[in-house]
Symmetry: C2
Subunit: 307 residues, 2 copies
């Protein structure tokens, strides 16, 4: 594939930005990738790993002459970063972000973006439980969705170019209204994360079951919860604070639903439980058919060996 | 490794029994493996796949002359199976089971087991979201725990032999009181499964987010929930009905805990959320250090390729 932007600036050099750096380099999608992180150690790591060609002590320096600026900092830091870079943005440049909440980012960043600059919020729905510059890899976005939430009156050419970049990095791209995006991710990502955090927390302070037992015997479902609950605390704090309404709505529904199942257990209502569990199986089948996961048993942890 | 039992009978030929068959065959641990399943198709599959050397239309026929009988049927069916096989058990034989709840199995099976037969309940803490005779594989138990809950006055030699079998099939073996077992699994397995089922159910009947979107955009946490929620409905119905008290206790704690986090979100209490999420990370580290999971990102779904 060929170059899409001459100069890209990555602001924040964690899992997502480093993966973008690797993916752009793999396919030659950017002439130069400049990077900024607050920590000197992170900046040096980015250079040594090689997913940035230059690093800069300030975000303002990093964005100079950039055709594309990617804000990849926690959502709570987006507003301050936008204010810092605004005077240094090249006219005609595109600013995007990778935050998991879109309305809050638009409110925080939008007012700072100067007229001749295109602001196209984005959210790559990919990640792992690891964070930091060493966590990134070129294939993170392969076959995963990136959602873009451009303003209604936005520039079509700028949107087309950003969409091409994501596609060239391996992603499928969906265009969506920011409010709708925030509802969707509350269901498929934010609420499940909070629930996983909660279950791990419950296990943590159970007195009758010692912690070492929880850890030793975690092979079943709980292990998957701990993986989710190991994600970056700063990022998730900001997600919940900024997508508050949608998350609280889903949690309300979740409590109701759990109470119904809990009551079925208490009343010994086997048919109700069986029907419920049969229905959820169908959703899983849909996900495998949609190509969003593998049917390999246990995530391919154990390799079938019927010898 | 060498033969541990001359003749083993597997009653029920699903994921766990078929995996035991494969694992015993791999290491030559049983002279002959006899199998029984209610369905003729399942019995034929077991023969064709080759994890049983003979199959029998009744459980009574399958257990004749067996040195070890493994009850691998849903917990709700254990009592009836035990009653059916009781008159046909060989004196000195051992009966074990693989149910996820131990007190209920002891109550259902124990009274049927004749005096000269050893009853040693067991629970291999391993599985995948797949079920049936084609789901099994020889390495399912490798490095996973199997918990045995023998009676206090049980036969030490019989216990030692069963423990050797599990170890030879790759498992680590823990001996535990049945009541304590049921509390531990309520935390690490049963409650997390119910919660995953619930979250998938919530997503299923949300009107503002269409089902296809839930499926398309499931890459984040939700995908892991659907995997858990795809497990065998009959097995899980019986688990919740028979480990009722321990599960309801954990669910009560879970609601309280979730309400606390929910309140922190509503009040915008960032520090509380951050502290909570930092604490849960440590538990994840413990699980990786205990060898119960891999540190590979995203369960090794995506292969780091920092090229």
């Amino acid at each position: 594939m060929s170059r899409i932007y001459d100069r890209v600036a990555l602001i924040g050099l964690g899992l997502i930005a480093s993966s973008m750096g690797h993916a752009m380099r793999r396919h030659g999608l950017a002439g130069h990738v400049a990077g900024h992180a607050q920590s000197e150690a992170t900046r040096q790591a980015a250079l040594e790993i090689g997913f940035c060609q230059s690093v800069h002590a300030t975000a303002a320096d990093a964005v100079r002459d950039a055709d594309l600026v990617v804000l990849a900092v926690p959502i709570g830091a987006m507003g301050a970063v936008a204010a810092a870079i605004a005077p240094h943005l090249k006219p005609g440049a595109t600013v995007t972000d990778v935050g998991s909440v879109k309305q809050a980012v638009i409110e925080a960043v939008g007012p700072h973006v100067p007229g001749p600059v295109h602001f196209i919020p984005g959210h790559p729905m990919a990640g792992t439980e690891h964070s930091g510059p060493y966590a990134g890899f070129a294939t993170l976005f392969d076959n995963r969705w990136t959602i873009l939430t451009p303003p209604e009156d936005g520039d079509a050419a700028a949107l087309g170019r950003l969409r091409s970049l994501w596609q060239a990095m391996g992603a499928k791209v969906a265009i969506m209204d920011a409010a709708h995006h925030d509802s969707v991710v509350a269901v498929v990502s934010h609420a499940p994360h909070l629930i996983a955090y909660t279950m791990v927390g419950v296990a943590d302070h159970l007195a009758q079951v010692s912690n070492s037992e929880v850890i030793e015997f975690s092979a079943a479902g709980f292990r998957d919860f701990t993986r989710i609950a190991a994600s970056d605390p700063t990022m998730w704090r900001d997600v919940f604070l900024t997508n508050k309404d949608a998350v609280l709505d889903i949690l309300g529904r979740f409590h109701e639903e759990l109470f119904v199942l809990q009551r079925a257990i208490r009343m010994g209502d086997g048919p109700a439980l069986f029907d419920y569990f049969t229905r959820t199986r169908a959703i899983r089948r849909g996900i495998i058919e949609a190509g969003q996961d593998t049917a390999a048993a246990d995530f391919g942890r154990a390799k079938p060996d019927p010898a």
